[in-house]
């Protein structure tokens, strides 16, 4: 694979050659100084040490820029700083005195340790902009790790991204690597884009979860590149604007914005202005750091201090992977035994079977004979498109072994559908089945399998020869495997070499296990604390393992896993990862020598087991006439209006992806009568906008309003007050409100409310009704009946942060619907200022009707739930309780997951359709939120129904769900059910969700077959 080792910074090197030095001015008269230094009469050196690069400037006594340079420091911060200073000393200072200051996140520790003045980098940026670009209103600066916005006029304010949104330049680098191009190529092709895809902008990890599948579906790289730039823009605005408009003269600074014109363009388009990227935009921070003036330093002394600098703090180290060489040798010897049998492919071989695993980042192909012996295999990065790789493999196979007789072929992985359609592969199987099939061949009594691939971590427990439980990572912990690779590449190593560095590390760094973005910043901290590359490497391997164990499997002891553990997936080829896994659990495991090929091997075994006469896979001749084209269109068959990627192949075959249901493929409408979510949506849609004599209030259709709409609709109707209801959310609505979100880590359902309220304001409403509610209805299922803090109080956030609400009114009174006697009085008081002629009597009547309406609505949902259950049972269909909160009915929030489940021929009902069927029961946690009480009750009920399963919808950032997921899992597992969790956020791509659901269904099928 071609590795774009230098990434975005590769370009920096080209630039360097062209404009390293400014020509010193000759003669006695200096032109007007670039920077008017007030105090300093000596030269000034500024060093800007960022997460990936180090930039240096030297200004002369008049503030003229004499010297500037930057280089990538590859974590060797001190060494590079010394080299730079020596260079400056010898070529610029030449014995003249100079002052020195350091800025940048990675320079903080160094500056403190060596007693060099430190200037915070955003502050430095501001100083520089004030001097060099007076009249600037807003600065947007993107770096390798951090994003910053500085507002200079109308109240100076400087903001940096929060912890969850790190990694701007690093993210672009990573995405370029995924597409196997350089960032400047990415910039070039983005100009040719014709459309943009929706890409999650919460953070780099989430965005990647959207981009990876797009690549695998064959979407045009130019469109993806453009979409990535827009994702960066949205992430910056959503995270940093926080209600302040970005307007006026906007200045772009920092590496990514300096070098990527399309990124600037995306900002321009989104903000509706034309920002400028000034000369020396890369050096503003360094220049700014010198502006505070400073005393002359003895440069030799500084260099000497730097040479003797040892980080004082140290970092938290963990035990080394191997205590000694013997341990390492024993480890190598033990694992060298797990090998697969191989054979030669000869004319005598007979029928052979092909397995393809089109994974998120790699494509694996395996050819086996009838005995399951390995004949040929290939493991290659998919470089963003698996099709040519499979094509090349087949061409080579047919050319080199003209006698080959393929008896069957199967494909698995993210690219399953695509590859199956392109090459007419016989079978497509879900990954869990493929991996289990392969592992069982290796170790017939295997009882636990863990697979760490590029993007996903998959674990399954085997009981009585069937998959008993499945653990799949959610978005936050995805991409660990490929992170290791990108990280290695960024430091200039191959992933193998990089991982091997860790084998002999003496003090591995503890890098945490939250997600790769956090790991990235932990590395930065470790670098500051003086960690060696070996220890960072080992630390990363350990982090990947901890992520799998503590976040995905959620186990603390090996006994919960099993006796016979097989580990597989490309990431386990790294001995450091394997060792970390054994060490963390304190057990020995089996790693097949074809760990990375196990999915493909399993697919091949599956193909073999099908005992076909002949495979339908494309022949040599068909392959010769093979063509492949990609088109993107909007589906337009329903309100989702999915963006479809259509792959067209020779012979009129085509493959459609990007769809959330089968309609564009089969042209058939899925049976929506078995989808209670659809029913709920239809019911809610019935509560449309109305007019009234007394005026109109706006109701934003978010969070609890998605359940209480019937209540308020009726309530205001009875009072002759019209209502305008915002529609179900869509992407556009979200973007409309994103600039006023103050907390980037709040859940997506809450964020959407900004769009709803903005929509109502745009419609000219000046009175919006959205009350605060600490308490929910008491349904008698829990210990208390709270709302979660976000549902309870989000109106406060809207009132405090949406500029449009400063001139309009938001009624956000604290109301308690759980107290029907007190409620009318309270709301009467709240409404009087706006509707002075309201009488308490009227309000009482209206409240009565409203309570009734709400009850009727809930009853309708329950009844329809029963109808669906009966119908499904009559037709022998499975039933899935898609358990979330009432607001998960919103199509933008659930991303059409209900429809996806229905498309599998499974009936979908909601948690509130069954929660009333059980009595209150003891839970191991405090059962104090009404919505979650329904969830526990639904889980309890599902446990008693053989044909029902529960899938829990979890919103990212929902702190409450950190508690409910474990509890729901234990309720279900106690009843012998498989727990499935789907974490949702902005991510729109359903690839991972599909795998999860198919795995669940496959496991249930298999369990039934085994007669359990």
């Amino acid at each position: 694979m071609h590795l774009n080792t230098f990434g975005i910074f590769g370009m920096f090197f080209h630039m360097e050659k062209q404009c390293r030095f400014y020509k010193p001015q000759i003669g006695g008269v200096y032109p007007v100084s670039l920077l008017e230094m007030e105090r300093s009469k000596i030269m000034q050196i500024g060093l800007d040490i960022g997460s990936t690069t180090i930039k240096a400037v030297v200004l002369d006594a008049q503030g003229q820029l004499l010297f500037k340079t930057y280089r990538r420091h590859y974590s060797q911060i001190t060494e590079n700083a010394i080299k730079l200073l020596e260079e400056i000393r010898d070529t610029v200072l030449k014995g003249e005195p100079a002052s020195l200051s350091i800025t940048g996140s990675a320079g903080m520790g160094l500056a403190e340790g060596c007693d060099i003045p430190f200037v915070q980098e955003v502050y430095a940026t501001r100083l520089a902009a004030n001097r060099l670009l007076p009249g600037t209103d807003v600065i947007i600066e993107l770096g390798g790790e951090d994003a910053k916005i500085v507002f200079l006029t109308g109240g100076v304010e400087a903001r940096m991204n929060g912890s969850c949104a790190g990694g701007t330049g690093a993210f672009i680098d990573q995405m370029a690597t995924l597409m196997d191009i350089t960032p400047d190529e990415m910039n070039t092709i983005a100009q040719e884009s014709t459309k943009t895809y929706t890409i999650a902008s919460r953070c780099g990890v989430f965005a990647k979860s959207d981009i990876q599948p797009l690549l695998n579906q064959g979407a045009l790289k130019s469109d993806i590149a453009a979409s990535i730039f827009y994702a960066v823009v949205n992430q910056t605005i959503a995270g940093l604007a926080q209600g302040r408009p970005i307007a006026g003269q906007v200045v772009y600074l920092g590496g990514p914005l300096t070098f990527l014109s399309q990124l600037r363009h995306s900002f321009d388009v989104t903000l509706g202005l034309t920002g400028i990227c000034p000369e020396n935009s890369l050096y503003y921070v360094a220049i700014g750091s010198t502006l505070g003036g400073g005393d002359p330093v003895d440069i030799d002394q500084v260099i000497d201090r730097l040479e003797h600098y040892r980080p004082t703090e140290g970092y938290h180290a963990m035990a080394p992977l191997f205590e000694n060489e013997d341990e390492y040798q024993e480890f190598l010897e033990r694992h060298s035994r797990s090998v697969v049998e191989t054979a030669q492919l000869t004319p005598e071989t007979g029928k052979v079977f092909l397995g393809i695993d089109a994974g998120s980042t790699t494509v694996k192909l395996v050819l086996i004979d009838r005995e399951g012996r390995l004949l040929l295999s290939q493991y290659s990065p998919n470089s963003g498109n698996p099709v040519p790789l499979v094509q090349a493999f087949l061409e080579k196979l047919y050319a080199q072994y003209p006698y080959v007789e393929i008896g069957g072929a199967a494909v698995t992985g993210y690219g399953e559908d695509l590859i199956r359609n392109v090459f007419n592969v016989d079978d497509g199987i879900v990954e869990t089945v493929a991996h289990f099939t392969a592992a069982r061949k290796f170790m017939p009594d295997v009882d636990f399998i863990i697979d760490i691939g590029g993007q996903d971590i998959k674990c399954f427990k085997i009981h009585n020869g069937a998959i008993d439980n499945i653990f799949l990572n959610e978005a936050c912990s995805s991409g660990c495997g490929s992170f290791l690779q990108t990280f290695a590449n960024a430091l200039g190593y191959s992933v193998e070499d990089f991982a091997n560095l860790g084998i002999h590390a003496d003090h591995p760094v503890d890098l945490g296990s939250r997600c790769t973005v956090f790991m990235n910043s932990s590395v930065k901290q470790a670098q500051k604390d003086g960690a060696s590359i070996e220890n960072i490497s080992a630390g990363l391997s350990i982090s990947v393992v901890k992520n799998a164990l503590y976040k995905v499997i959620r186990t603390a002891s090996p006994s919960q896993l099993g006796q016979h553990i097989v580990v597989q997936g490309g990431t386990f080829h790294n001995d450091a990862v394997l060792r970390a896994f054994e060490q963390e659990l304190g057990v020995s495991v089996i790693r097949p020598n074809i760990a990375g090929l196990m999915g493909a091997y399993g697919a091949a075994l599956y193909a073999q087991s099908r005992k076909r006469d002949h495979s339908g896979i494309v022949s040599a001749q068909e392959l010769a006439n093979f063509t492949h084209q990609v088109q993107t269109v909007h589906c337009g068959l329903c309100s989702n209006n999915c963006q479809l990627t259509v792959n067209i192949f020779g012979g009129g075959r085509k493959y459609i992806s990007g769809n959330r249901c089968e309609r564009p493929v089969t042209k058939r409408v899925t049976d929506e009568t078995l989808n209670l979510y659809e029913y709920k949506r239809r019911l809610l849609a019935g509560y449309g906008s109305t007019t009234g004599r007394r005026g109109t209030v706006g109701l934003p259709l978010g969070l609890n309003m998605l359940e209480l709409l019937p209540f308020w609709h009726r309530f205001f109707g009875c009072l002759d007050i019209g209502v305008t209801v915002s529609p179900f959310s869509d992407r556009e609505m979200y973007l409309k409100g994103q600039a006023s979100i103050p907390s980037d880590t709040v859940c997506f359902p809450a964020k959407l409310l900004h769009g709803h309220v903005q929509t109502l304001l745009d419609e000219g409403l000046n009175l919006i009704f959205y009350p605060c509610m600490s308490y929910n209805f008491d349904e008698g299922l829990g210990d208390n009946h709270y709302n979660c803090p976000v549902v309870a109080y989000y109106p406060e956030v809207l009132a405090g942060n949406m500029p449009g609400l400063r001139t309009s009114h938001l009624i956000k009174d604290y109301l308690g619907l759980h107290q029907p006697k007190v409620f009318p009085e309270k709301i009467h008081q709240g409404l009087l200022p706006y509707f002075p002629d309201l009488t308490l009597h009227e309000v009482r009547q209206a409240a009565k009707a409203a309570y009734r309406e709400y009850q009727q609505y809930m009853e309708k949902v329950r009844q329809q739930g029963d109808v669906i259950i009966q119908k499904a049972r009559a037709q022998g269909q499975r039933i899935i309780v898609l358990a979330g909160r009432p607001y998960h009915v919103d199509p933008e929030l659930n991303h059409g997951i209900d429809k996806l489940i229905a498309s599998f021929g499974v009936a979908v009902i909601t948690e509130d359709a069954v929660s009333h069927k059980v009595e209150k029961f003891p839970t191991k946690v405090l059962n104090q939120w009404t919505y979650h009480s329904r969830l526990y009750a639904a889980a309890r009920y599902v446990g008693t129904q053989p044909d029902m399963n529960l899938v829990q919808l979890v919103s990212f950032g929902c702190g409450v769900d950190a508690i409910t997921t474990d509890e729901t899992r234990s309720i279900l597992e106690d009843a012998g059910k498989i727990y499935t969790q789907i974490k949702i956020d902005e991510i729109t791509n359903l690839g991972a969700v599909k795998i999860r659901l198919r795995s669940l269904l496959a496991a249930i099928d298999q369990r039934e077959e085994e007669g359990r």
């Binding site: 996140s105 990675a106 903080m108 200037v119 915070q120 955003v122 502050y123 400087a158 940096m160 929060g162 926080q242 209600g243 938290h316 503890d510 945490g512 296990s513 939250r514 997600c515 956090f518 910043s521 932990s522 930065k524 901290q525 500051k528 503590y550 959620r554 603390a556 002891s557 103050p742 907390s743 880590t745 809450a750 600490s774 308490y775 208390n784 709302n787 979660c788 803090p789 976000v790 309870a792 109080y793 406060e796 405090g800 956000k812 604290y814 109301l815 308690g816 006697k821 007190v822 309270k826 191991k924 946690v925 405090l926 104090q928 939120w929 950032g957 702190g959 409450v960 950190a962 997921t965």
Partner: protein
Amino acid sequence: MSEPIRDKNGRILFTKEMKKTHTILVPMMLPIHFGMIKNVLLHEGYHVELLQNQGPDVVQTGLKYVHNDTCYPALLVIGQLINALDSGKYDLDHTALIITQTGGGCRASNYIHLLRKALVKAGYENVPVISLNLSGLERNSGFHITIPMIRKMVAGAVYGDLLMLLSNQTRPYEVVAGETDTLVWQWVDRLSAQLNQGKGYNMKALTQNLDAIAADFSQIMLNRVPKVKVGVVGEIYVKYSALGNNHLEEFLQSQDCEVMVPGLLGFVLFKTDNRLEDHKLYGTGFWKSKVCGILMNYLTKMENALRQAVLKYPQFVCPTPYAHMKTLVKDMIGYGNKMGEGWLLTAEMMELLEQGYKNIVCTQPFGCLPNHICGKGMINQIKLHDPQANIVPIDYDPSATKVNQENRIKLMLAVAREELAAQQEQANPSAQVTESQRETVSVG
């Protein structure tokens, strides 16, 4: 040891027998306050030990046994308790744990349940856990909270608040380095001794002590050089606990700042007042509200005693009354906002601004639900009210790095220093502040 006695839900009870035989481990939050509260429990005949274990092992233990998306305080408190059990220092058959339980709509009410789950996971399922609460949750025959105990604990909290308040105002300016801390710990010892003897908590003794403390602190020689003044607010655990906030106060002091951290009493008042608000808003809990009304009066008296002691010395900034704080946020956020720190957090920021602490670190665990609203969600409004407000929200989490946190705080401090310099400029337009112009203040 025999099988522990359990209630019908399987909870291990802390029996009368255990009061004699068991050591109760208390997780640390505020060293001064908890040190004194520990003495109250000792006097009541409980063998208690305040945990001092810190560092990455505590975090690692937490990560191992608690769902990693749970809030950081839960992870740390549970990590600290299990890490202590792991240490081998305690006889597991004679050790119990204690943890507070608030019972509000935030995740914190579930800490005790998460702790029990974690104990099972870690193989300590027979270690009893006591819930420390005032709501009557989870009764134990061997552990009773009596009214005198409450009074003593409140006294401990008031003393803690005063010591924290005054020491924060003298430490940065003290002429004799270390004088402040010496005085703090002298007083902790004296007050602990009193509490341990069952004294020092009635209004008379309390007033005497508070006055004496304030008098002592007023004697400390100070050199009042202008310093950046920073207020710290936030979720209660990460605001106070050095383990939770990566030693934030130490860091700010190392950056030459004066730090102000609002006291614990305000939080107690707030939680009590919530019952009254609930009654006002929803008509619920009539009798509870009556009881809380009495408690409210008592606490207000205590608050007043503390304020009166401080007000005698005008050089000290005195906390404003709870009732005043409440008016500060009247048009900003509803009084029904009660989960977590609720409106009090917003009010604390407003109070700090009013007192001249324009620079504020708003701390919260990563993903803290209430702080999305009353912390980060209110900053824009606060800035509209006071454009000089310089607030930085900082998230704490096992994986959030110190370098990132400190970098953001340094940004806030850079702006603060600029503002301070501008103020100095205004005060002395002729020249920059020089050593000679810095006055030495000593009161006494």
